[in-house]
Amino acid sequence: MVGSSAEWIYNVSGIDERRFAAEDETISDMAVSAAQDCLSASGVLASELGMLMVASGSSERRFPGPAASVAHRLGLDSVPALDLPMASAGSLFGMALASKLTETYGNILVVAAEKMSSVILRQPMNPSTCVLFGDGAGACLVSAKDGLAKVVDSALYSDGSFAEDLKLELERPLEMNGRTVILQASRKIPRAVVELLERNGRAAADVGYFLMHQANQNLIVRIAAALGVGAEKFYSNIRRYGNTSSASMLIAATEWSRQSGFPSGVPIVFATFGAGFHWGALLCVAT
């Protein structure tokens, strides 16, 4: 599209392929599909939901965001539906908040849906970012009842001093100061994971698997090294999907879950970093 070779893109990001939604496919369409898939897999009916959260940084309009529409299409009547327009950090923030709210609201469905193609392909294209992002959606059911894993703890952070380094202004290309993003993420993510684990009496070596936001394969490898664990403990699918922003962590978690089945008793760490900057980590233990 912009003269970058496939080899260069793969070397700098780990991306080989990406998926784009159909031109007439909306964020709401993708979110509903992911939500129904998740509900079916969990055996929970939509009518049993107490809350819905939808994370998306690529929504078609300022307001209302997609959450109300998704709730309506799922047949939810008056169930609170929150939008989380936080880009990459949206799904982890949603999961963490849901884990605190579930005692009050019961079953909470956290959905992340992104149509990054609608952003990166509009003119003028930014050659440094348009090759990195793809479309996708994922979902996670958080409940006070037993499930695949128990949320033990979470840690969320925001630092607005870097708000200008990764941004999507109205009708403008996505802008990213890649060096700053990588530099900050390289420090903040391992620190967040270590702090979370230490206050729960654990170390990175105790963690069975890491399910991270799929931003860049080189970054994933660096974070593994910073934590002193092998990169094989970090699930990676960025090669096939590119960076799907808030959806990426949930897509990775779903694929890994279907492959491994959440081995009982194993600590799992979710981690993310994104525009804001917002970042965080969540610790759960497979049941």
Binding site: G178, R179, L183, S186, L219, R222
Partner: protein, 77 residues
């Protein structure tokens, strides 16, 4: 070894390139450093000079040349 020489040695080690850039040469534009090498350089600088670089100072422009790195280190000592 003076400070600039120490910094150059760190860059050579991290970049795995046996090149000594001019003090004002851009380390990024010259291809000596990329986005993923920079965190390693900063960690090595912290260790070598017993300084702590706060997140608020993690602006790549501050570390784009040996001169700039030297100035930054002096400000932290």
């Amino acid at each position: 070894m003076n400070r600039q020489a120490q910094i150059a040695e760190i860059i050579r080690t991290i970049s795995k390139k046996n090149t000594t850039p001019d003090p004002d040469e851009s380390l990024f534009d010259s291809g000596l450093l990329d986005s993923f090498a920079l965190p390693d350089v900063l960690s090595a600088l912290e260790l070598a000079f017993s300084i702590k670089i706060p997140d608020s100072d993690l602006n790549p422009r501050k570390f784009d040349s040996i001169s700039r790195i030297e100035s930054y280190i002096e400000s932290r000592l």
